[in-house]
């Protein structure tokens, strides 16, 4: 069954530490996305990718890096985590076939930075 999975599902990190959030998709989609969701802010786009080896900055990229080593995997990296990065992070995959931006979301990762 095609799916988007994320790991870990929950993470507690310390300020200044490095955090890596991982995403895997079996949809064979070219596009993958990272969002964060905070109360009152909806879904905000952090980074996205059009395929293996490519990463693009979204609307709030500061403090985040992304890596797309393969079609299936897309990681979000917080080199120096800060409490303001406490949030729920969603990964999504999608194709742009026919001009559609239909996306399939993973279950989310709840990150707490202390």
């Amino acid at each position: 069954e095609a799916a988007v999975t994320q790991s870990p599902r929950n993470k507690v990190a310390v300020t200044g530490g490095k955090v890596t959030l991982s995403c895997n998709q079996t949809n064979n989609h070219n596009n993958m996305y990272w969002y964060r969701q905070d109360t009152g802010h909806g879904l905000r786009l952090i980074h996205y990718s059009y395929g293996a080896g490519s990463t693009e900055k979204g609307d709030i990229p500061d403090g985040y890096k992304a890596s797309r080593p393969s079609q299936e995997n897309f990681s979000l990296i917080l080199e120096l985590a800060t409490p303001s990065q406490t949030s729920v992070y969603f990964c999504a995959s999608g194709s742009h076939w026919g001009g559609s931006y239909e996306q399939y979301f993973g279950p989310g990762t709840r990150l707490t930075v202390l």
């Binding site: 596009n31 996305y33 802010h41 909806g42 879904l43 786009l45 996205y48 979204g58 609307d59 969603f90 999504a92 999608g94 001009g99 559609s100 931006y101 239909e102 996306q103 399939y104 979301f105 993973g106 279950p107 989310g108």
Partner: protein
């Protein structure tokens, strides 16, 4: 970069009523308009989408009305049920979403 504007921020209706959620956009080249829903504790999921070749798209109790001239589209949820209580997001030819409408349906 706000691709779409969504209103209202929150909406409460009684069971059986029609809920109306609104979105507007600015770029006339946009040609794909989806609505996603997100239940508490879950991830967003595509609910229904429309392309501007038609002004209306129905799927059961859910209908999108599209107005190309005014650059607006809306989601109508007929015969609203308490199980429809969720946050609804619109988008437009972009991976960027509106701010969301939190819908509460009271029994």
């Amino acid at each position: 970069q706000q691709q779409v504007r969504q209103s209202p921020q929150s909406l409460t209706v009684w069971e059986g009523e029609t809920a109306i959620l609104n979105c507007s956009y600015e770029d006339s080249t946009f040609d794909y308009f989806p609505w996603y829903h997100q239940f508490p504790g879950e991830s967003p999921a595509l609910l229904i989408a429309i392309r501007p070749v038609s002004n209306k798209k129905e799927d059961g109790r859910f209908t999108i009305f599209f107005n190309k001239r005014e650059k607006k589209f809306s989601l109508h949820i007929a015969d609203s049920q308490p199980g429809d209580s969720a946050t609804y997001f619109c988008a437009a030819s972009s991976p960027r979403f509106g701010a969301g409408t939190k819908l509460s349906v009271k029994p």
